[in-house]
């Protein structure tokens, strides 16, 4: 039991970060069918934003809360730019979006390498995240709790937005049946752009959280992109609740396996688990019933 509590808590936090990275993908990949390999670099943009905001607001107590919305908007705008210039020509050609966005991701990585010091930049944690919370004898780092809270807030905001706003309804209508949505007067172009903005913006928020956990450098996006895609695939395309459960399960599995074996072997085991699961259930945890003919 002693060993289980740290793994459960840290696994949940690890899952929360995966979820933050996967939320945006769940929108753009799940709902629009775009395989955006540059999503990890939007996360990187968010992390560099945390650093840049810290240069202006030197108190990290304040700068991190400010960086969250800033990173959302900046990464979102980058996403919008990508959609308007490149992705819009490639809808319904998922394989092409994959190839093109791999290129974009390499360009963004190299740009970051040219602009920022090659060793990466330091992002300081706010002092209100110093310290630990004693959970049944385990000194749990507060930062872990912060990641979970942040993920919860983002999920709540996103699902409320999808459920209760006009834009959300239009997005859902477009997902269910694009042609019918268009004939009933919805501008699917506007919807696509907006979805891409929000999806990329969420990656920016994930980036701020990631900057508090690991290094902020040109390569950081690479470590999140594939696990995030796996989480979306395992959760079921276009399903928020599936993504949430899958992210949490992968996070806890990673953490428990890391305890029983080693950090590297845990990666292998956790993703074997996902692959086996997808063999058994290729559609993921949940499926969305679309009314389109395709």
């Amino acid at each position: 039991m002693d060993a289980l509590i740290p793994q459960l808590l840290n696994g949940s936090a690890q899952g929360a970060l995966l979820l933050l990275a996967a939320l945006g993908l769940s929108l753009t990949f799940g709902q629009m069918g775009v395989i955006n390999m540059a999503h990890g670099e939007f996360l990187m943009i968010g992390a560099f934003n945390a650093y840049l905001v810290q240069q202006v607001i030197t108190s990290s107590d304040l700068s991190i809360p400010v960086a969250l919305p800033v990173a959302f908007v900046v990464a979102g705008l980058f996403g919008l730019l990508l959609e308007v210039t490149i992705i819009r020509w490639m809808y319904r050609r998922p394989l092409d979006t994959l190839l093109v966005t791999v290129g974009v991701s390499l360009i963004l990585q190299q740009a970051a390498l040219q602009i920022f010091p090659s060793q990466g930049v330091p992002v300081e944690k706010p002092s209100w995240l110093d310290g630990q919370l004693n959970v049944l004898g385990y000194e749990w780092p507060l930062r872990q709790l912060f990641t979970i809270v942040l993920a919860a807030v983002c999920v709540a905001a996103l699902s409320a937005w999808l459920k209760y706003t006009a834009f959300g309804r239009r997005i859902r209508a477009t997902v269910h049946n694009r042609d019918l949505a268009e004939t009933s007067g919805i501008s699917t172009r506007t919807i696509d752009r907006l979805t891409f903005f929000v999806g990329s913006g969420l990656a920016g928020v994930a980036g701020v959280a990631a900057s508090l956990i690991g290094g902020t450098n040109s390569q950081m996006g690479a470590q999140y992109i594939i696990p995030a895609f796996l989480v979306v695939a395992a959760g079921g395309i276009g399903q928020l609740k599936g993504t949430i459960i899958a992210a949490w399960a992968v996070g806890v599995a990673l953490s428990c396996f890391a305890y029983w074996t080693t950090g590297s072997f845990a990666q292998v085991l956790a993703f074997i688990l996902v692959i086996v699961f997808l063999q058994v259930r290729p559609q993921g945890l949940f499926t969305v019933r679309t009314r389109s003919l395709a």
């Binding site: 740290p6 793994q7 840290n10 696994g11 936090a13 690890q14 970060l17 390999m37 190839l99 791999v102 991701s105 390499l106 190299q110 390498l113 010091p117 090659s118 060793q119 990466g120 930049v121 330091p122 992002v123 300081e124 944690k125 995240l129 310290g131 630990q132 385990y138 000194e139 780092p141 507060l142 930062r143 872990q144 990631a210 900057s211 508090l212 956990i213 690991g214 290094g215 902020t216 450098n217 040109s218 390569q219 950081m220 690479a222 470590q223 992109i225 594939i226 696990p227 990673l254 953490s255 890391a258 305890y259 080693t262 950090g263 590297s264 990666q267 292998v268 993703f271």
Partner: protein, 430 residues
């Protein structure tokens, strides 16, 4: 599972396949060229008739390792400029050809072949990861070229075509263990990235720790491209070590340091000794690392006759990071060492250079002190130093080896290192 190199390879896979297909079309001709060049390499296509001599610099300027290798490339340029200003090598100015290894090991091999057979360079300088060195090794051996490798590494290697100017394990790992023993450390935890250097280093550490009476209370590895160390640090907290031996490399160090402080560990109670955190990395951790230790041969704070000039030149150099560190100093040494070798040989010819390494005593007044080349194993003698990080992210020297340590890449002079384990590790390292 998803190493940086793998992902980049995946990413470039599509482009790579196209290139390979195109190349396959003219495969026969390309093969002929290589064969011809290989045969003539014995006679050497290096042009020594003019007033310049061509040298190749091979560093990853793109991809994951650019984080570290750009600095090495810059300092090589600086050393070349310095040598040119002071008259060149055997009176010839250095004309360098910079190639990008692109953090891709097959690319390192291809570029090595290109530099030797098409650019006809007299020697190549660069590389960082052991994987890049191992990709270059068969090529320089086949074409009888020269490669100068500037980074501390796991040892257990010696090639007639490679000169190693970074530390081997008995010049960095073993001094660190001697330091820990002198501090009375009893319980040690090993934390490393999951690749050949930390695995080999830890195998050596465990053997030496047994001899020193230090108990290893845990050993953890995380893939190079994974930053989140929280779960592993929880295990460190539970194991209650006196000291942590850190062989983590790259940005994963940032994640480790953050998790370390977040878990409430402090250098006052559980200090870290690192072998890859230097002056450039220390300020990039996102948390002050004051009080922790590092084992290197060179520190910016070293008081030697040549260090002030080195620091000053680097600070004034364009694109400089402003601080000097061990790997860049080793790269700086490599070019000067080559100059001394060529001048002792009186020739740029590879066999003549290798012969001079054996018959002459080749030394260089390096920023870390006067280093001497070991002509047999192609490594250099180095002083062992332990630095403690101060508030300015510089290192206060708290321990030094009593003399320069002779390089012993196969640890043949250490009775606690059994021959069967040496054989096994050399085999595993390939």
């Amino acid at each position: 599972m998803f190493t940086t190199s793998k992902r980049i390879r995946m990413a470039t896979g599509a482009i790579g396949t196209t290139v390979i297909l195109v190349l396959a079309g003219c495969g026969a001709r390309a093969g002929d060229d290589t064969a011809a060049a290989g045969a003539s390499a014995a006679a050497s296509c290096v042009d020594t008739s003019g007033s310049t001599i061509k040298l190749g610099f091979l560093n990853s300027l793109t991809g994951g390792m650019a984080i570290s290798e750009k600095t090495v490339s810059n300092v090589l340029h600086m050393a070349a400029d310095e040598i040119n200003t002071s008259g060149g090598i055997l009176g010839k100015k250095i004309e360098y050809v910079q190639e990008d290894g692109a953090t891709d090991w097959p690319t390192f091999a291809e570029k090595t072949e290109k530099l030797l057979t098409q650019d006809c360079v007299a020697a190549i300088f660069g590389g960082w990861t052991s994987s890049s060195r191992k990709a270059v090794k068969p090529v320089v051996e086949k074409l009888n070229g020269l490669f100068f490798y500037p980074v501390q590494y796991e040892g257990l290697e010696s090639s007639p075509n490679i000169y190693y100017t970074g530390a081997t394990t008995n010049q960095q790992i073993i001094p660190a263990m001697d330091f820990l023993a002198s501090k009375g450390v009893k319980r040690l935890f090993l934390a490393g990235s999951d690749y050949v250097f930390p695995r080999t280093a830890n195998a050596i550490i465990k053997l030496y720790a047994a001899k020193l009476g230090i108990q290893i209370v845990g050993e953890e590895y995380v893939p190079l491209d994974k930053d989140d160390w929280t779960s592993q640090v929880a295990k460190i907290v539970a194991a209650k070590p006196d000291f942590i031996f850190n062989t983590i490399n790259g940005s994963s160090n940032v994640g480790f340091i953050k998790a370390y402080y977040d878990a409430g560990l402090t250098p006052a109670k559980t200090p870290i000794i690192s072998v890859s955190i230097a002056e450039e990395e220390a300020p990039a951790m996102g948390h002050a690392v004051t009080g922790n230790y590092a084992s290197w041969n060179y520190f910016q704070s070293l008081k030697t006759d040549t260090n002030p000039k080195f620091i000053q030149s680097w600070k004034a150099y364009p694109n400089s990071s402003g601080v000097t560190s061990d790997p860049m100093e080793a790269a700086y040494i490599s070019l000067y060492l080559y100059k001394s070798l060529v001048e002792a040989a009186g020739s740029f010819d590879v066999n003549a250079v290798n012969a001079a390494a054996k018959t002459h005593t080749i030394t260089f007044d390096a920023p870390e002190g006067k280093v001497t080349l070991n002509g047999k194993n192609h490594h250099i003698s180095k002083p062992g130093h332990i630095g403690q990080i101060n508030a300015d992210n510089q290192f206060d020297i708290v321990w030094a080896s009593d003399k320069f340590i002779e390089p012993d890449p196969y640890l043949e002079g250490y009775d606690w290192f059994p021959a069967d384990i040496r054989k096994q590790l050399v085999g595993a390292a390939g």
